[in-house]
Structure formats: structure tokens, C-alpha cells
Symmetry: D2
Subunit: 428 residues, 4 copies
């Protein structure tokens, strides 16, 4: 590892060793605009990480920025607990008009603590309350958060260890599509739920990501997704789609399940929901499931008013018509082609993911990390994914100008070439 | 109940029934400055709720506001995961210089998901990891959050029910000071932990609030707090002070335990930490407990960069010397006197809390709610607390101008007079 | 420690190290009659342990023995699952006539796996099923068994460790009478259950021993027992009396709660129930709680037919009138006097227990073990009890002839004298 | 259903409704010898249930009976806790000589509470203690007992419901061989344990029956069993074979895994272990796993002395040479042929099980129950098995004289003919 540039800094002295991304990108950032980050030395980086899909519209989008500055300047409310504000009304109206109504969804919006894990916890609670069941079906390689209820549903062994060895209960793990080679994972799930002596208790919910962002960019096929939705209905379980990382355009449309012919009972959203990188999370729930008593699930920062402002602008700017979707599709095609060139260079490598959430399984975590490190040396911020960090994952802002996007991909391709060359030499 | 002004609104159509504060304060707010909120009709309200202690410095403090606008205008970073930014450095340096060093604390700062419950979950995990024990001592009437790990430590029956009836494990409940009349609750705790056949497993941690904000404004005495700290040490448990509601000046000084002669192993902070009402939470941990592997506990919104900006300004503006503390003390005295007048009016009523976190137990939840509703009709935003909502709780911004503060208290006293008069009449 | 006589034996080679009583009484026993055990060398021992109260009528009672031999000789059934047999009918009729009817109890008999822990597990399940609640109140120093459900309710730290560190859930621990000095433990329990924010969930049951056999011979007063019964009713919890060790005459009458004015909802019985030392356990449950579906709780050895035979004889022989009760009372008086002489010899020592379940807290486990070891050298089998093994516990067969009983007590008094003399010398 | 002959009896008045076998066999039994039961009316029944495999040597075997009567007559010990007795020594020596040594097994014998579920609980505890892991792999359709630890591993939904809805934790359910059609269940298990992000925590143990007695007579192939043993070793899990129902000759040899080339780390035995139907259970554990502290897992009836006597005789009589094994094999062949005739009569029916633990899946629980009821009317005691009770299960004593065995099978075949004829007619 190279000498840490931030050695002896206040970070070393005073920030917990749990910090992680800063270890891969060991510099101090000072400015960000669009898809470009600038560090303290004035060096510019193209951002292919996007705050792990929290900055799908890039950094400091000028329209959101203007609206937010106007809001603050005019002493707009920053914090109102869950009281009514005109910003909340405007956000809800935009969300209703631009997201829910066009899809014929009658879901209600539950404001939860402004992190994805809080949304997942709320959805799990509600599924259990409404069904009177405790067990939840979660899937291999799923990632749903770090608080104990969501952590129980999270598959990663290292993350689970963090619990301090308390039991993580009331979850049954089932294989995700293609996690068992060619085996029919839907048939396995159906068999386990249909057999009264399977030992798998009747489930309150299925909790599923349509593209597993942390678990290795596994993208479920529409057929599998529909199968999951049918099995949930058949077995009386709520279908919860965790769209925290794959939602808000990342998969190619607003929801990752758009055009798949399903309507989840609950949907968790966070990350890019605010549009500006501000903490904001919601759970969408069906009206008939909205059995909460007031404050039965509460929290201080539910409904971040600054985020209402930017989220509304984001909805109006990007989702009023289909042009943004077309843009994403075009970029996704460029991305696929570039990643295919990378995969072709590495024996055994193959593409993963979907839309603007794609990557390459380069067959080893070691190689993936080398490629990302080399890319960073050349001004590209990019990270790995997967159980062994074996996937080089591209999460560029969806708004990245095509020129910059292609340049970033060129940097990545060059980094791969460098690393596979040296890799080959080292192996010889 | 009065006709809801927001009836037939988008809130009714699209916001989950779990919303609660908006039910007490049924209007739409549009602006906020200092201790004053304005609604859509232009009506002004004095805020004695402060976002449940998330707005200790009032709304839209001009210095924080200016710094935040400057940051956003200059394309300062909004979201950086846990990468290094100059704003994070500046916050950490200010926190070190103004909070930690003056107290001789060598604690490190763990950035957690920006809600209090995430900080509590992180602290519980770390206490379990570092001790190899699972059991955590939590106290009657404690409130620590809504995600499953923190909810297990939360005492309120209604909140616990929200879990959908999953077991809330690995917590032993112990009586808070004065929760059992004159009984020596420290002696009970010590006896239960000293007896190898008590059935109370050796604890990883004690998790305690020094003033129980949701649980009824129970304020522990310095003697009890020192006793708890000694028992934690004696029995090998980490002392975690949950200072989410009582911290950041609310109790009279920065931490609620200042000048009590204890140094907790871990401290959770959220609510007023950002200074501006923005979502932000941290856990303070001892360097020797900082055994986390990178990303072992992670999350997208750890380290809200906008909050770093405002939190730094708040520290520099209010905590560089003792003047703010003196101001709080002066106001707290005025508060005590006013609340005493209220208590004197109601047989059996008595004062609760400490510093600027005081209230009156008016002997019934029904009366407390009537008083708060009457106050709201007269332009004062104020809420109840306690297991039966029996405490009228004053959580005014610490920065409220004395004039406005006294006027607010006068409104509260008048509301009490109105309600007790009618109450008496109704009883006759 | 003395050289183990059984060294190099098949026990060393092939029996798990978990064995324990054989370590205190390191000889091989070959015969047993009444209150006398004989070992392979023909040495005789008086039994003041009675199989931990499983042999309240002594070894090989001639009437039970004759009936059992007759049963076996005539090819009576040894094992019938839970099918109907004439021996089961005869036992149930005797139990109804001699135990239930005289007390006006309409309880039904649930046959459970033939160990105490199985009876406890069955009662806990049923309490949870009938109340729809999960939490169970158990008490400090309680002992209820080693299977996971019962172990959760067991207080002893060493026993709990045996679980392999899985969480032992859904139990709240409360202080037993006098476990907190003079504090009012009933008041504590009531306060914790009455406060909706205590964090103690509404209980399905109270699980309590009236004399804690393993926990140190703590005997609850009738006032406390009545208080517990009232609190159970007040808070909607089933009252389960675990009478496995204290029942079947040990306390002075058939049930340990006789003449206390309470009627438990459920009672667990095992140990001396068969009368002959054979494995047998039942749970008594109210008819209105008998909501089991057939086989919902099952097991192979429920209803040990040999035990039905001996248990019926025991009931008819000892409980048809009050003479046995008077005998026990007389012996208990002699016991108290002898133990008082022992206690008087040891500064700080004091008597514990009730009826024929008494002992002396000799202030240290070390001394108690020395006394028991010295007694064994002199032909008396006796054991310790309590969290630190600090209580010398007398559990003689209730049928011990007075002569032999007094001789045994004399041996114990002499052993105490020897040990306290040497103890004093060692201390000087 | 026919009028219950035991209506208005003491069973109705005083025995819990949880009783079950007596409902299928509604008469009162009075005598038993070999494979014949006699009821109160003097009617004789052939026993094809054998106490669910607890009477593999039939009722009241004359040699065991003689030894037991001699033991009792001579005031042999009935109950000795876990002290040393000559009967325990003799049992251990016989078990060592006749069972362990011939197989080269160095296992030690752990005396547990005398029911199968207690043996399972002990084994689970020990596996968790020795590995420092909590998770246990159990299989679909597995049955392991009714106490909470064992119940968590039991698959049957009805049995699980009996827990009163407490969470049954720390178990991961995996598909048993052929439970998913042709899918490779070993590959599924290996994949789930090899993927660090599968969400299946590293297991302390695999808990498996080689023939699932309650789960439908599913018999694992030697290949699958070896695969399971290899996967346990590969993934650092203890292999626990639950041989409670399939062991002690039922499968054809003493252990169900004999001649399969595996040596389990732990084996649970109960049911026919005593040979006479007396309650008795043990866990076999490897010496290196015998890390128990004395009494860390205890219980009153561990080591039933009467059972030691009969169990020793059983070992000496039946397992000193291979003749009993040959007898079983011969009978098993006859059984297979008879069951095949039955299966041939019912479209879709097929044979299940192995050795003297075979049955026919008659395609519906309704038909299976009709057949068993008809058989009982004709003097044959026989029961069903499986998740829907769809398997007619033959568990005749292994010692049944060939004549009686064939007559019993003829009764069963006739009953099937009667029921399928009427079934067909009913369907027409």
C-alpha cells in the first residue's frame, strides 16, 4: 500500500478505523460538480462511484442547488419532525404525479429515518404486523443495512460479524437467481414453502433487490422477478423490493421493476431519492397495509426538509418525460460495450448487472482491487462489489456527459490492461 | 378534536398514518427563524419543541445559514460516503479542540448513519464485540430508537409492539433512579449483577440517558450517575451514555454528564449535533475500543457534509467559551420558576427534568394534552412526554430571546389556567 | 482431593466428564433400601440426598417394589406411548381421588417427557399459547432445567454457559423474596409490570419455585406467594409453580403451596412423582387452558407405565390420610433443631428452607464442601446448594426411621465440628 | 369415527387433550408380550408400531424381564442420579465391548435426561460450545424433539406452532435428499456454505436422521450420507446423527450409518436403547469434544438404573454376533415384498424407508388413515408418517416371529384392499 497522504491527520487521530472508502481514495476532496470531484491539490477525478448510487444526478446539480439555496436564503424550514410543511406537500404531490399515478400505484409514502436501513426496518416491521408472521425470506448476497433487523436480512459474513455475535433471527435465506448454477431457484423456494414439514415457517415477506448492488451486481431476470412476485402472493407474503441502490433511474427507469409486470407491496427508497446526496429515505406501502398507529415507528429526522426541496426538483427535472430514460439507455449501451472489451481481456471474466449498474467479474478480488487502484491513480474513482470484491463496478452519475463518460471508461480499460499485463507477468 | 385543516390534502392521500406531530399541530408550516415558526396563513408560533431538541440553536441560525449557503454556492461537496473532505476535517478539528480536548477525552468519532438509532446500534455492536458478551442493561422508560437492536433497548410498550411481535433480545431491563419510589436502584442493579445465580448474564454495556426525554423527563442525580459508572466498571460493562436528546447544551452544558465526574466509554449524539436540524449522528468511542474492521459497520449517509459545515459553525459560535452556558443557566432558572407556578396550580403536579429540558408532571395525560392543545391555539408549539404523556415538556431553543421565552411561558401558564379551570368545572 | 477409587474404570474411559455427583461420592453403589445405600465394598451410607428429592419415600419401598414386580411378572405393559392402559387409568384415578379432589382442583394431567425440564417446557409453551404473549417472568436463583426453553428460565450462570452462547430469550428475571435484603420484591415486580414504559413486556406466565432447591433453599413466605399469585392474576399471567423438587411431600405436604390459599394455573411435577425413582413427569393444567391439538407437544416416553404402577401405590400408601404429613412435620422439627446447632457453631451461618427441605448457609462454598466431604467419609451422603454452593442441604427420605435420621444428623453435626475446628485453626 | 369406548372415563376427565395415539387405538391395553398387545376385553393385537421404535425387541423380552425382576427383587438401585453403580459399569462395559470397540469408535457416553429431545439438546449445546458457532444445519422433514432447542431443529409446522410463537432460532434449514426432486441437494448445501455472502452463518453442526421416521420414512442413500459427512468436515461442522428412531437395529444394523463409511462426531440414541421400553437416552461424543464441566448439563433422571439392566441384557442377547442382523434382513425382505404388493394396488404409491423401517406412500393422508383404522379393526396396530400423514409405516418389533409378522402384513394388505376398493367406489 502506498504511503497514506492523510497520515498524522485529524482523521488518524479522531476518526474511527471503521471508515473505509477513504482508504481506497486517500486524498481530501474539496469540491464536486457534475461527475467531477476535485481534491485539495486541485486534482480532478471522474466519479464512477456516485456515492454508491446516491448521486445519480451528479454532484451539485444546478437546479437543485439553486432551489436549495433559495429555500435556505428565505428561511425555509430545515427540520420539522413529521409536521406538515409546504415542501413536504410539494414533494408528495410531485411524487404522486410523476411516479405513482403514471404507474397506477396507490401506495402511500412512509417517512422513515433518513437511511436505507431505517426504511428496511420499517418495511419488515409492517410486513410482520400485517401478516401476523415473523419469518422473512431474504436472499443470498442480499444487502439491506446494518441495524439489527436489516442486518439479519443482509447476507455478507463480515457485516454479520459486526453484530457482536448476537443471533440474527427470523430470516430464512434462499438462493438468488443463478446463485446455484442452473438450478431452478424459484422451484426450490416454492418447494420449501409448500411442504408443511419443510421447517421454513410461513413468511411475512420476501425481501429482494432486483439488482444486488453490494452482492456482486447480480441482476434478476424479469421472469425470475415475476416468479418471485407470484410465489409471494401464493404463500401470503408481502413482496418488499429493496430499491435503495438500484432505484431512482440506476437500472434504466425510475424503479428497477418497471415494465416487469409486478407491483411490490412495499418498496424501500433512499440513496438518490433526494437527488442531491442528502439523507432521505422512504418506504412505499399499500393503503390497506397502512395500519400503523401514529408514532408507532418514529424518529427525529424523518422527512428531511432540505431533501424534500431537492427531491422535488429532481423529479420534475428528470422524470416529467421519457428523455432521461433514453439518455440512460444510450449510456448503458456504451457501458456494456466497454465492459465487454474488459471482460474479453481476462479469461473467465464476464459482465454483470443491468442499465447503468453494470460491472465485470474479473475472477478475483485481488485483480479487481488492483484495477480500481490503478484507475484511481489515473483520476477515476471506482469500486468493487461482490462477496470476494471480485466485480469492478461502474456506478457513474446517470447525467455524466457522454464525452466524460467515455473518457472514464477509457481510463478503466487502460487500467485493466496495465493490471492484467502485470498480473500475467507476475503469474509467470 | 377540531376539524383538520389539512383534510383532503396530499398528506391524507399519500402520507402514511404513522405520522404523528402533525396531528397535534395541524397546520402547514412555511418559514422558520430563531424560535418562531410561520404557517401558510402567516400565523406565527413560538417553538417550545425545537424538533424534539434537534434545534437547540433555533431555526436557521444566521451564521450556520451563511456558511451553508457559501458551501453550496461554491460547489462544496454534499455527499462523499466516508471519504475525506476538508469539511469533515474542519468539523473533527473543531470537535477535538472545543469538546474533546478541554475535557481530556481521547475518544474517537465514529460516523454512523445520520439518525440516533443508528448511533445506538453501532454502540451496542461495538460493546458486544469488545466484551464478548451479549447482554445489555437498559433502563425503565429509556428511549433509544426504532430499529430492532435499539428498539430492544427502548422501554415504551407501544413502540415495542411496532416490531410485529418478533423477540427483542439480549437486553435486561433495570429500574431507573426513582422509578421504584425510594428504593435504592443502584443496590438492586449491583445485587443482580453480583449474584452468579441471578440469571442476569454478565453485561456488555449499560445504556443510559441522563435525562429521559421521551420517558418523562426523568433526570438522574449526579450521585446515581456516578454509581452507574462505578457499577459498569465493577462488572466489566461499557458505559454508553445516550446523549441524543439531552446532549449539545440541552442539559445546561455540552454533554449531560459534564461536571459529574464520569467519562463514558461511548456516547451517542444526534439531534442538535448538526446545529441546523440536518440529519447527523456520531458515536464517540474510546481508542482502545476502536476494533472495527473497515466497513464492518457502514452505511451510505455517514458523514453528512452539509451537516459538517453547520456543526462546525455551531461549535465555534456557541462552545468557544462559557457565555452560552451562562445564558442557558439563566434561562433554565426562569423556566423552573414558571413551571413551579404551573405545578402549584395542580394538586399532585411536580417539576421534572433539568436545565432547558424541564417539564411538569400534571398527573394525567389527558390534562397534559389539553394544556398543549390550548397553548397551540394561542401560538405556542409544545408537546408532552412520559409513559402516559403526563408531562408537559418545554424544549425551547436554547437561543430563544429572553423576551420571547418569557412570553411563551406566559402563554403556557395561561393555557394551564384555562385547562385547570375547565378541568375543575368538568370534575364538579 | 483423595485418589479416585474408580480411576482407570470404564467410567473414566467411557463416561462423559459432565458427570458430577459421582465426583463427591467416589465409590460404586450396589444396593439400596430405605435410607441406606451400600457400595461394592459392603459399606453402608445413610442417604441425605435422596436423588435430589427423587426418592422422598426412600429406596425400594416394599409395597411399590412388590407391585412393580407383580406388574412385570404378569407381562404388564412397560411402554405404550400415550395409549390407554389400565395402569394409567389407575394412576389418574388415584391422583384425582387423593390429590386433586380433596383440594377442589379441576386440573387435567398432561403427560410430558419423563424429566422435569420437559414439564417446564410444556408449561411454558402452553402459557404462551393461551395468552398470546411471549415473555415469562422467572426469578433469581431459579432452576428449571437444561433444555433451551427451560434453561432460559434457569438463573445459574454456569448452567446458562452450557448453551454454547446462544441467546436465551423471552424471559425477564425478577428478584425472589429476600434476594434484595429488605426490599419489597413484590412491589418491584408490580411496578415493573404496571408501568407501560418499563420495557418489561406483558408476561405470559410467572414461573416460580416455592422453595428454590438448587438456588440455595430459599423458601418463600406464604405472604409473598400470595402476593405473586395476586400479581399474576392482576397482570394476566399464568401462575406456574415448579414443584419438581419441593413437591410430593418434601415441603411438608403434597404440594409446596398447600394451605397457602393459592391455586396455580399450572404445576410441574417430576422427581418423586413415581415414588420409586423412575423417570416420570407431568404438568397439571386447568381445563380451560387445555387447548392443545393432539400431539402438538409429544414425545416417546410420556406416561412411563412402570412409573404409573409405583406412583399409584405411593399415593395410596402415603396420601390417603394425614399421618404421613404428621410424620414429616415431626422429622422437620428434629431437623430444624439439629441444623440450628450447626448454625450456632459458625459465625454468620443461618438456616434456610422449610419442612424436610432445609439446610444451613455456612457462609462459604469451601466450608460447605468440606463438611459434606467429611460427612461422606463417615457414611453420610449429603450435598450443597446455592449460587456459591454455600448451603449444606439435607434432603433425607421423608420415610427415614427417626433413629437413622437422628444418627445421620449427628454425623453431620460432628462433621461440622471437625471442619470448623480445622477451619479455625487454618485461619489462625 | 366410531363411538369412543373410553368415553366418560378418567382419561376424558383428567388427561390433557394433547394425547394422540390413544385416539387411533381407542381401547385400554392391559398386557403385552412379544409382538402382541391385549386389551381389557381380552382382545389381542399385533403391534406394528413398537412404541414408535421403542420396542425393537418386543414387549417384555423374557431375559430382560428376568434380569429386571432379579435386580428389583435384590434391592438393586432404582435411582442414583449420576453416581457410580455396578449396573452403570456393566452397561458401559457391554456398550464398549459390543458396540464401540467392534467399530473402532472411541466415543464417550454422555448420560442425558431420558428422552430423545434431551439428547438432541445436549448434542446441540456441545457442538456450539466446541466450535464457538451458533448456527446448526437441520433438514426438511427432520424431527428432533419438542423442547425449544430441539424444536427449532424440527421441521413439522404443527409441532413448531406449539412453541407459542416464540422465535426458534439458530437453525438453518436445508433440503434433505430427494426433497427437491432430482436437484443435487448436496451441491445446494455446499454452495450455501461456501459463499461468504450466502447469509448462512458458518455452522456448528449438521443434525441429520439417516431415515426420517416422523418426516415420511425418507431414507438417505449411502452416497448422500457420505456427502453430508464430507461437507460437515469441509465446513468445520460437527456431524450429529440423530439415531433415536432409526438406530438400535431398526435400519438393519445397530446404527443406521453402519457400513456407510462415516463416523459421526455425535450420535443421539433413545427409544429402543433400554430394550424394554424404559426411558433412557444417551449422546455419544468424541473424547476431544468432551469439554463439559461437571454438571454443566445435568438433570435428575440421567442414567436410569433399571434401563441399564435391560439395556445390557439387550446388547448381550442381540448384538454379540451377527445372527440378529441376519434375522432383521430376512424380515426386511418379506416386508418389502408385502409393501410392494400394497403399492402396486394404488396408482402413484411407492415404497419408502429401509430395513425394518419401511412404509408406503399411499398418495394421501386420508387414505393412509383409513387403511390404518381398518387394520386396527382387524387387530393390527399401525400408524402413519409424513408431512401429510400420507405414509403407512410399518415399525414391527424386530423380534416378531415370522409367522406373526406375515399374518400382520396379510392383515395390512387386506385392509388396503378394503380401503382402496371403497375408495374407488367412493370416487366413482
Amino acid at each position: 500500500m502506498t504511503m497514506a497522504r492523510t497520515h498524522n491527520s485529524v482523521f488518524d487521530r479522531r476518526e474511527s478505523d471503521v471508515r473505509s472508502y477513504c482508504r481506497s481514495f486517500d486524498t481530501t476532496f474539496t469540491k464536486a460538480k457534475g461527475s467531477t470531484l476535485t481534491d485539495a491539490d486541485g486534482r480532478e477525478y471522474t466519479d464512477f462511484l456516485s456515492g454508491c448510487s446516491s448521486l445519480n444526478y451528479g454532484h451539485n446539480d444546478p437546479d437543485m442547488k439553486a432551489a436549495l439555496i433559495e429555500h435556505i436564503t428565505g428561511d425555509g424550514i430545515a427540520h420539522a419532525l413529521d409536521m406538515y410543511t409546504d415542501e413536504k406537500a410539494a414533494f408528495l404531490e410531485a411524487f404522486e404525479r410523476l411516479v405513482l399515478k403514471p404507474r397506477g400505484m396507490d401506495h402511500k409514502v412512509m417517512m422513515v429515518g433518513p437511511t436505507g436501513t431505517n426504511a428496511v426496518e420499517a418495511a419488515l416491521k409492517l410486513a410482520r404486523k400485517t401478516t401476523g408472521r415473523k419469518n422473512v425470506i431474504a436472499f443470498t448476497n442480499g444487502f439491506h443495512g446494518m441495524t439489527l433487523g436489516a442486518l439479519a436480512a443482509t447476507a455478507n459474513a463480515g457485516k454479520r460479524k459486526g453484530s457482536g455475535d448476537v443471533s440474527l433471527n427470523d430470516i430464512t435465506r434462499m438462493p438468488y437467481e443463478r446463485s446455484l448454477g442452473d438450478m431452478d431457484t424459484l422451484a426450490i423456494l416454492d418447494a420449501m414453502l409448500s411442504n408443511p414439514s419443510s421447517g421454513v415457517d410461513a413468511p411475512a415477506a420476501f425481501l429482494v433487490e432486483l439488482i444486488q448492488g453490494e452482492g456482486g451486481l447480480n441482476a434478476a431476470s424479469p421472469e425470475w422477478v415475476r416468479g418471485i412476485a407470484e410465489l409471494a402472493r401464493k404463500h401470503g407474503a408481502k413482496l418488499i423490493v429493496d430499491d435503495i441502490q438500484a432505484g431512482i433511474g440506476r437500472s434504466g427507469s425510475f424503479f428497477s421493476f418497471d415494465e416487469m409486470g409486478i407491483e411490490p407491496d412495499m418498496i424501500t427508497l433512499a440513496k438518490s431519492l433526494s437527488g442531491f446526496g442528502l439523507p432521505f429515505a422512504i418506504a412505499l406501502i399499500r393503503p390497506e397495509d397502512d395500519v400503523w398507529k401514529p408514532a408507532e415507528h418514529n424518529g427525529t429526522f424523518r422527512g428531511n426538509t432540505h431533501a424534500f426541496v431537492t427531491a422535488r426538483v429532481a423529479l420534475e427535472k428528470f422524470w416529467a418525460d421519457d428523455s432521461f430514460k433514453s439518455e440512460i439507455a444510450e449510456k448503458a449501451k456504451v457501458l456494456t460495450e466497454s465492459l465487454q472489451r474488459i471482460a474479453d481481456r481476462i479469461p473467465g471474466a464476464y459482465l454483470k448487472g443491468r442499465g447503468m449498474m453494470q460491472g465485470v467479474d474479473v475472477t478475483s478480488g485481488e485483480l479487481a482491487e488492483k484495477i480500481c487502484a490503478e484507475a484511481f491513480r489515473n483520476g477515476l474513482i471506482i469500486e468493487t462489489s461482490g462477496g470476494d470484491d471480485e466485480v469492478v463496478k461502474v456506478l457513474a452519475p446517470l447525467t455524466t456527459p457522454m464525452e466524460q463518460f467515455k473518457a472514464g471508461l477509457a481510463t478503466l480499460e487502460a487500467a485493466t490492461e496495465t493490471c492484467t499485463a502485470s498480473h500475467t507477468i507476475a503469474a509467470e
